[in-house]
């Protein structure tokens, strides 16, 4: 047990403490607020790296630190924190990306009047997120999970002035709450059946053989309930609707929370409690995992399709996030845990990069978000363009140089060997094409061609914003070093076995397949959109080529497959009706009862009043007059004459003296 493993709690504690500090600052102390937040993040990063180095010392390293939180009766509730490769890798990624985003937002939020509050929330979020990662107890994890949700709520609704932002915040909160309800039920069930919520407790944790054995068949249901939480948080299929709306928040928030870290928390959760999912697996397949796979596939494909038809630069990225998360889920479901987490990490980097790039674009275009109005920004903001291109290629999975490519290839690998069915595999291949397609569309719209709306005055962002972009771009590229099949170091690190170098494994059939797919996607994109926004023959400039070809389909996708409307018709309508019913009940049934009781009370009151006035008051009045007289007498003694008082004291002393003398 080295220092860092014992004091792991410092990593989340520092940013949270700092955020409280910032909240206590005056609104005008902008510089100190930003400085504090960044410093906190730096500290967190340093500690995380220390923890990471700690985990390198042995393959499959795991350090657990448990303690009793409180005791009721004879049962005691224990929580703690765990440091293992999974946690360590997440820690470093979150802290690093967080740092970049903090610095970026110093520039992005420069002229916001609630600057300090923003940074307070931001570091609060980062603290909570780091807490989620290191928690070694499902309960503790849930607590941080909810804190993360709170932070996300606060930050989505950061610009309270806009009704849309408020609505989006509410939507996000409630939607995730639905998932968390399932999660909480899962926790209860788990505690009920295994008696512990600790993950690792030298043999007795709920993820270790003994604990699992206690669960037996219920493991599946528990796993599914917990998976509900994951669905809610990382926007999987039925509950994904909040994520695109969450883009109402400031762009750095979208980058940090709704791309890099929080939405990935669901994936992380599944990976964390993976033993619950894979318990009792017949060569790698359990019912719960199957559910995970199918939900993942659906999400991935659906989101990718919707993304094609979106016009808001951030919404496109949001949907791509959703689909990438689906991809990770699939990978987890088919047993490629390491692959999923690797993609999660890589995705953290390049998606944060893309969002920040989008932020920089929006900043440059004075908060215009519609890609159809942009264009030709390539010349105006070169740095943003280059970094954005890197992000785009990483996302669409161009192999060999970009981290995304390798991880995606790994995932495809693992899906290919899923014994149950090959449909997910093929669907994912289609997803890859779509990803490349919509990214190409976006980048062409934004950066190529000649600018449509008047954005000649669009400017490159200040260095405080571009530097993080460059850093993240480098991460997105350099990160791929540890991902290649030639030297799958990260894979080994996460899986707990050492990795050996073997160049021959670099090139495999899957490599060419994904290469072709990406090439296809980009090619189609270029074909479709190279003249986009340019006045084509009998196609007005602002209409999308796809829209021109397939209006119905485009409408369908553009409106997110009418899912929101569907929910409006079904869930919300039901809620509204039940509300109305209960309102009626309240108004007419219960209210009547209450009124009846009330009138009874009134009658009684009238009766007692008479008793009072006739009987009791008279007696009391007598007493009062007596007391008043007495009071008048006594108060006349209190003349306020100090010397009189002193004299009385002296006389009293004399009396005591005489008493003494008489007694002795």
């Amino acid at each position: 047990m080295s220092w860092i493993t014992i004091n792991l709690w410092l990593i989340p504690a520092v940013p949270v403490a700092i955020s409280l500090g910032i909240l206590s600052l005056a609104k005008s102390r902008r510089k100190s607020a930003a400085g504090l937040a960044v410093i906190g993040q730096v500290i967190a990063l340093v500690l995380s790296i220390a923890a990471f180095l700690e985990t390198l010392q042995a393959p499959g390293f795991r350090a657990v630190q448990n303690f009793t939180w409180f005791t009721f009766g004879d049962t005691e509730l224990r929580i703690g924190w765990v440091l293992d490769p999974l946690a360590a890798a997440m820690l470093v990624m979150i802290a690093l990306v967080g740092l970049c985003i903090f610095i970026f937002s110093v520039g992005y939020m420069a002229d916001d009047k609630n600057f300090t509050r923003f940074f307070a929330y931001l570091s609060f979020f980062s603290g909570a997120m780091l807490g989620v990662v290191i928690a070694n107890s499902l309960l503790l994890l849930f607590v941080f999970w909810e804190l993360v949700g709170l932070a996300s709520y606060l930050l989505i609704g950061f610009w309270i002035g806009r009704p849309s932002a408020a609505a989006a915040a509410k939507k996000a909160f409630i939607t995730t709450r639905i998932g968390d309800m399932g999660f909480f039920l899962g926790i209860l069930w788990l505690y009920h059946s295994s008696g512990t919520l600790l993950f690792y407790d030298d043999g007795n944790g709920c993820l270790e053989s003994a604990g699992l054995a206690m669960l037996g068949a219920s493991a599946t249901f528990i796993a599914l309930l917990i998976f509900c939480g994951a669905i809610g948080k990382s926007g999987q299929f039925p509950l994904h609707v909040w994520l695109p709306d969450a883009m109402e928040g400031p762009t750095p928030v979208s980058a940090l929370i709704h791309a890099a870290t929080m939405v990935a928390a669901g994936v992380f959760l599944v990976a964390r409690v993976y033993p619950l999912f894979s318990f009792g697996a017949i060569h790698g397949v359990t019912p719960s995992l199957t559910v995970v796979v199918w939900i993942g596939v659906t999400t991935a494909l659906m989101a990718a399709l919707i993304a094609i038809a979106q016009a808001d630069i951030k919404r496109i990225l949001a949907y791509s996030t959703v689909s990438q998360l689906g991809l990770m889920m699939v990978s987890l479901g088919v047993g490629g845990v390491a692959a999923g987490i690797m993609h999660l990490l890589a995705h953290g980097f390049f998606k944060a990069l893309l969002f920040l790039g989008a932020g920089s674009v929006i900043h440059g275009c004075h908060h215009e978000q519609d890609i159809r109005k942009m264009g030709g920004l390539r010349r105006l903001m070169p740095v943003t363009f280059l970094t954005y291109a890197v992000g785009m290629m990483a996302l669409s999975g161009v192999p060999l140089f970009f981290s995304g490519g390798w991880t995606k290839e790994e995932i495809l690998h693992s899906t290919a060997h899923w014994p149950k069915s090959h449909v997910p595999h093929y669907l994912l291949l289609a997803g890859v094409v779509l990803t490349a397609l919509y990214m190409t569309r976006q980048i062409i719209y934004v950066f190529f061609g000649k600018s449509r709306a008047a954005f000649e005055h669009a400017h490159e962002s200040p260095s405080v914003m571009t530097t993080p972009l460059v850093v993240l771009a480098l991460c997105a590229i350099v990160f791929s070093v540890v991902l290649t099949p030639a030297w799958p170091w990260l894979h080994g690190y996460l899986g707990g076995e050492p990795a050996q170098f073997d160049i021959t494994r670099l090139i495999q059939p899957m490599f060419f397949v994904s290469l072709m797919l990406v090439a296809a996607g980009i090619g189609i994109g270029v074909l479709l959109y190279h003249r986009a926004g340019v006045q084509d023959r009998n196609r007005p400039a602002e209409t999308d080529p796809l829209e021109y070809m397939q209006p119905g389909l485009f409408r369908f996708l553009e409106n997110k497959m009418w899912l929101d409307e569907l929910y409006d018709r079904t869930v919300i309508a039901f809620a509204a009706i039940s509300a109305r019913v209960s309102d009626w009940m309240d108004r007419y049934v219960w209210d009547g009862l209450v009124r009846a009781l009330g009138s009874l009370g009134q009658l009684f009151g009238i009766f007692t009043r008479d008793v009072d006035e006739r009987g009791i008051n008279a007696g009391v009045d007598e007493t009062m007059t007596g007391t008043r007289g007495l009071g008048r007498v006594i108060s006349s003694w209190h003349s306020g004459q100090i010397q009189t008082y002193l004299g009385v004291v002296a006389i009293g002393m004399l009396a005591l003296l005489l008493l003494y003398a008489w007694l002795v």
């Binding site: 003349s639 306020g640 004459q641 100090i642 010397q643 002193l646 004299g647 002296a650």
Partner: protein, 104 residues
């Protein structure tokens, strides 16, 4: 004749009574404070005397008490005089007969 404890006590009693006189019979607030200080001092004299005449004078309990009471008397004088000044600012007099109402 060497003075016994009794004589010291008598002196301090006299001092005490002089203080009491000042406190009881003078109208000026400051006189009352002076009187109180004198009474305290008389008490100190008692402490010291009892310490000196006690069977084991090597442990200076009485001295300690005297020191502390001197410190406290100093605090009391400071606050008292401050009160006199602010009362004077209010009533434009320091005659204690006229400080007989609480509302200011």
């Amino acid at each position: 004749m060497t003075p016994t404890l009794q004589i010291f006590l008598i002196v301090s009693a006299a001092l005490f009574c002089v203080g009491l006189l000042a406190a009881l019979s003078r109208r000026h607030a400051i006189f009352i404070l002076i009187g109180i200080e004198m009474m305290l001092a008389a008490a100190n004299l008692n402490f010291i005397a009892f310490w000196r005449f006690s069977p084991e004078p090597h442990q200076p309990t009485g001295v300690m008490v005297a020191i502390f009471s001197i410190a406290i008397a100093a605090a009391e004088a400071a606050v008292g005089l401050a009160l006199v000044i602010s009362v004077y600012r209010h009533y434009r007099t320091t005659n204690v007969d006229q400080f007989d109402q609480l509302k200011g």
